[in-house]
C-alpha cells in the first residue's frame, strides 16, 4: 500500500462490498414512499371534512395508524439518505460537514420518533378532553 496519492493508498485493496447499500436503501424507501404517500393523499381527499373530530377518528383506526407509522419510517429514512447526499456534495469543509451530518441524524431520528409517538398516542389513548 502506497503512502502518496489517494488512489495509491487504496489501489489493490479491492471493494469494501458495501458501496451500493446507501443507493439500494434509497430506492427501497422510495418505493415505500411512493406507495404510502399516494395512500395518504387519496385517504385525505376522500374524507368528508377536515374537522378535528373526523381527523382524530380517522387517524386512530388500525388501518390508518399502521400505514401512517410505516410512512413516517420510510419518509424519514429516505430524507436522511437524500439530505446526506446533498450535504456530502455541497459542504466541502470537513468539520462543517460532520456537524451538518450529525444534525441531520438528530433531525431524522427525532422527527420519525415524534411522528410515530403522536400517532400511537392518539390510537392508544384517544384525544385528551
Amino acid at each position: 500500500m502506497g503512502q502518496g496519492t489517494g488512489i495509491g493508498r487504496v489501489r489493490g485493496l479491492g471493494s469494501a462490498k458495501h458501496g451500493s447499500h446507501h443507493w439500494i436503501v434509497q430506492r427501497l424507501t422510495a418505493l415505500g414512499n411512493l406507495t404510502l404517500t399516494l395512500w395518504l393523499l387519496f385517504s385525505i381527499l376522500t374524507l368528508t371534512n377536515y374537522e378535528h373530530e373526523t381527523l382524530a377518528a380517522w387517524l386512530s383506526q388500525i388501518s390508518v395508524a399502521v400505514p401512517m407509522i410505516l410512512m413516517l419510517i420510510s419518509i424519514f429514512w429516505h430524507l436522511k439518505l437524500g439530505m446526506q447526499v446533498m450535504i456530502e456534495d455541497y459542504v466541502p469543509d470537513t468539520a462543517l460537514r460532520l456537524i451538518a451530518l450529525t444534525l441531520l441524524n438528530f433531525y431524522a431520528f427525532a422527527g420519525a420518533i415524534f411522528g410515530i409517538f403522536v400517532v400511537a398516542k392518539l390510537a392508544f389513548t384517544g384525544v385528551a378532553s
Binding site: 502518496g4 496519492t5 489517494g6 493508498r9 430506492r27 422510495a30 418505493l31 414512499n33 411512493l34 404517500t37 393523499l41 381527499l45 368528508t48 371534512n49 378535528h52 373530530e53 381527523l55 382524530a56 387517524l59 401512517m68 419518509i75 424519514f76 430524507l79 437524500g82 439530505m83 446533498m86 422527527g111 415524534f114 411522528g115 403522536v118 400517532v119 398516542k121 392518539l122 384525544v127 385528551a128 378532553s129
Partner: protein, 134 residues
C-alpha cells in the same frame, strides 16, 4: 492526502447547455430537500395537532387565514411532492436501464414537469370544489 493542484478538474455546471434532463435532476434535489424540511415538519405538526386536540388543529388552521400563507405552503408542498414523485419514478425507470434514448429521455423529462403541474392543479381543484359544496 496529497493532491496535485495543477490537475484538471471536471467541468462544472456553468459549461453545460441547459436541457430538460439536467433541469429535472437538479429540481428533483431542490424539491426533495424542500419536502424533507418544510414538508416533513408540516406533516409532523399536522399529526401532532390531530393527536392533541381541536385547539391545536384550530391554531394550525389559523395560518390559512394569515394572508393565505397556509395555502401557499400547502400548494408548494403538493407541487414539490408531485415533482419529486414523477422525477423519482423517472429515476427508477432509468435505474432499470430504460429511457436513455435522446428523444424519449427529453420527452419524459418535460413530462415530469407537466405531470406535476397538472396533478397539483387537479388535487386543488378537487379540494376547492368540495369546499364550495360543503
Amino acid at each position: 492526502m496529497s493532491q496535485n493542484k495543477s490537475r484538471p478538474l471536471s467541468p462544472h455546471l456553468g459549461v453545460y447547455r441547459w436541457g430538460p434532463a439536467m433541469l429535472v435532476s437538479i429540481v428533483n434535489r431542490i424539491v426533495g430537500n424542500a419536502l424533507a424540511t418544510v414538508g416533513a415538519l408540516v406533516l409532523l405538526w399536522w399529526l401532532y395537532a390531530v393527536s392533541t386536540g381541536p385547539e391545536a388543529l384550530d391554531y394550525l388552521k389559523s395560518w390559512f387565514d394569515f394572508y393565505y400563507l397556509g395555502y401557499v405552503v400547502l400548494v408548494g408542498i403538493t407541487w414539490s411532492f408531485f415533482q419529486h414523485l414523477f422525477g423519482g419514478i423517472r429515476h427508477l425507470v432509468m435505474d432499470a436501464g430504460a429511457g436513455y434514448e435522446l428523444t424519449g429521455n427529453k420527452f419524459w423529462s418535460i413530462m415530469t414537469f407537466v405531470g406535476a403541474i397538472v396533478a397539483t392543479g387537479l388535487v386543488w381543484a378537487y379540494i376547492f370544489t368540495n369546499m364550495l359544496e360543503g
